[in-house]
């Protein structure tokens, strides 16, 4: 079974989605998203469904790349893949019916030298994006409560199941 999963992962890695660069093989699982999903569709509706979450993710990625505090972290990154996996992660956590196909937070942020100040900047940008797309304050905070524990240990060089988002 594990062999099949690994084979599938290899296969996925071998043929990346359109516009994306190849990624070294890894095992795909929803648990890689790093948070348990909400139940019911209230959160998904609060975020405006698929259209709303796509708009927030696009806004967040472009705000981050333009933010002088953290722009360097996004240099030479595959932003097409980032937008797709970030959408999947949010969609999965908000119970929008998606599966998360990305890496774990520890894998995807390895060796980026991310510090807590970078995380704080990122959260600020996410709050601004959610505000611009009219997500109610209570729903914003509920999502942030899911994401905050991902503050993780990877940027400190420890190992752990969680690390930063995006």
């Amino acid at each position: 079974m594990i062999a099949i999963l690994i084979a599938l992962a290899w296969q996925n890695a071998a043929v990346p989605p359109a516009g994306e660069e190849p990624v070294a093989p890894y095992v795909q699982a929803d648990t890689n998203a790093g948070a348990t999903p909400f139940r019911g569709d209230a959160m998904w509706q609060a975020f405006g469904g698929a259209a709303g979450v796509h708009a927030i993710v696009d806004d967040l990625v472009s705000t981050n790349t333009a933010d002088p505090r953290i722009t360097d972290i996004f240099k030479n990154r595959d932003l097409v893949r980032l937008r797709r996996t970030l959408f999947e992660q949010f969609c999965y956590i908000l119970d929008g019916g998606c599966h998360y196909s990305g890496q774990t937070m520890a894998q995807s942020h390895k060796d980026m030298g991310i510090q807590q100040a970078d995380m704080a900047a990122l959260v600020e940008n996410l709050q601004a994006a959610m505000r611009r797309h009219h997500v109610p304050m209570a729903a914003q905070n509920r999502l942030l409560a899911k994401l905050a524990p991902m503050h993780g240990k990877s940027w400190r060089g420890d190992t752990g199941p969680y690390t930063v988002i995006t």
């Binding site: 510090q115 807590q116 959260v123 600020e124 505000r131 304050m137 905050a148 524990p149 503050h151």
Partner: protein
């Protein structure tokens, strides 16, 4: 986050919190400034201070607090607009937990702190029955941001002998030593930058006994801070000299800045 949540700090209120000001992260040193005004018809209390946070684990700060008695000062025979001030030197050490980031744990952020307060107006303090014009508080504080509920909650135990935060000195006829007092607050994150809340705080009952107060009614402040005593001064003082409250409940708002 420009928001509370990630750089939460008590921008309002009088109670101590466990969060470390100035440095929002584990990786740096930062400064902070704050100001609080409690304005009421009969008096107001203003506090302003600066702080230094180190690696989100140590905070050193200085504050100056001024209590303006307005009309209450006239009623107490101190003179309208009589002010009490005090300097507060503080140190705080975070010992466990994370108020903001660890939303998957109930463990609050816990800090211990000391506040050394030096009150001005030593003459008045002795006149009204305070034993000393400086004193040190020790406290332990637990703070948690309940992000999913958009709430900030705090509970603090303070060992103190301060009369009215120390503005009226430390210790008194009834009690010399410290006693444990409670401070609790709940705030609602109304927007990413606005906190609305309420706090309750108990204060020690170390005010002078009624008899001691009556004995002192012969005295008032002279030109300097030395009391001038005369029987004729008794009447206004005796009737107006009510014991100060041993607890208070107040509402606060905080503007949370990046």
């Amino acid at each position: 986050m420009a928001s509370v949540a990630w750089r939460v700090r008590p921008a309002g209120g009088l109670a101590a919190w466990a969060v470390i000001g100035g440095s929002e992260t584990r990786d740096g040193i930062g400064g902070s400034a704050h100001a609080t005004i409690v304005a009421l018809p009969d008096f107001d209390l203003k506090t302003a201070g600066i702080g230094l946070g180190i690696n989100d684990s140590v905070e050193l700060s200085y504050a100056y607090q001024r209590f303006d008695t307005h009309r209450a000062g006239a009623a107490l025979g101190l003179g309208r607009g009589f002010t009490f001030g005090q300097h507060i030197l503080s140190g705080k050490l975070r010992i466990a937990g994370d108020a903001v980031w660890e939303q998957d744990r109930w463990l609050p952020q816990i800090a211990i702190g000391v506040q050394h307060k030096i009150a001005e107006r030593g003459g008045v303090i002795r006149l009204v029955g305070g034993r000393a014009s400086s004193g040190t508080d020790v406290y332990a504080s637990a703070t948690k941001v309940l992000l999913a509920q958009s709430l900030v909650v705090d509970a603090t135990v303070r060992w103190t002998k301060a009369n009215q935060f120390g503005l009226l000195g430390f210790g008194g006829d009834r009690r010399r030593g410290r006693s444990a007092q409670f401070e609790g607050s709940v705030g609602w994150l109304a927007t990413p930058s606005l906190l609305l809340g309420a706090e309750v705080r108990t204060k020690p009952t170390i005010w002078p006994s009624p008899r001691a107060a009556r004995d002192r009614c012969f005295c008032r402040l002279g030109g300097g801070s030395a009391p001038v005593c005369h029987r004729r001064l008794c009447r206004p003082w005796r009737h107006r000299h009510l014991p100060p409250p041993t607890w208070h409940l107040s509402l606060f708002t905080g503007i949370l800045l990046t």
